[in-house]
Amino acid sequence: MRSADWRAIAREEIRFFGDVSAAISHEINNRMAVINEKAGLLTDLSVMMAQGREIDVDRFEVQSKKIVDQVRLAKETIRNLNRFAHSVDVEHTRIEAAELIEFVVALYARKAATAEATLCLFESPESVTISSNPFFLEILIGRSIDIALSHVDEARTVTIGVAAAKEGITVKLRGLAGLTEPIEYPEEHQEVPALLECLGARYRSEPEGAALLLEIPDKERMSQGRTA
């Protein structure tokens, strides 16, 4: 492979890392903002109580429980961050595709909400696995969601599923409109083609432009096929 391609891939890896980290930091900060207000409210209530004002004592428990709720939400985000951080631990492994997609969808929840769209998972009847680089797959699925969000139809719901294909897997993102080939990438995602090329993957759009398909070959399966 040309050295320029590896540079492009590295650039895209770092950019994706930056995007996801920024989204996570934003989400955690929002939880902190709520917790901060709730703590302030508890202080306000106790000050008012000390001043002899009539305060419903139940409010302390209710508001404290809300703090615990926010902690729970933040913990979920932190778990995602930790999983994301560890997705670069191994460069090649057998991956449960639906599970990985579910993880990326969780990472993209806030981005989708900002675009006023919802991300849904389409349940696949059986387990679909692929032998690949987990971080690369996360990037491609993430960028697929980016493309989908900029082409979502009026129902504003992107449904994502995966199916086994002859030589690998096909990830399908439905609920789109006007998507045509060649697939256009936003300016910031110009390095995605290098990653596709590295994996031997490609994008296709369905004839009416209502779905985006991401086809990824399972190189292990392919090489096993050749030796068989």
């Binding site: 902690v71 913990k75 932190i78 778990r79 930790n82 560890h86």
Partner: protein, 117 residues
Amino acid sequence: MKVLLVDDEEELVTALAERLSFRGIDADWSTSGNEALKLARAHTYDVAVLDIKMPNISGIDLKKRLEKMRPDMKYIFLTGHGSEEDFRAGSAEASQYLVKPLDIEVLIETMREVVEP
């Protein structure tokens, strides 16, 4: 039940100790391995709740040293995240581990299970 709490985060460990005492559980706390060893030398505890990652000593190493002193004491590990290494370390030690932030009810239940199985 008498408990020894060890975590380098003072705000956490003091809040835990206080909340346990409100619930009728006698809890001593320390923020370092050395203090923990001193306390264990001076008092008998049913269970020690140890943070896995501390600046000067790991929870697991601290457990090894405490075991020599108090062979009957039981252990629970606290971890910041359920990462692979922590799980493996915890199960290698055949100990219970809990992920922070803690749920105090879960902590108490786990302590009871470990002390009176």
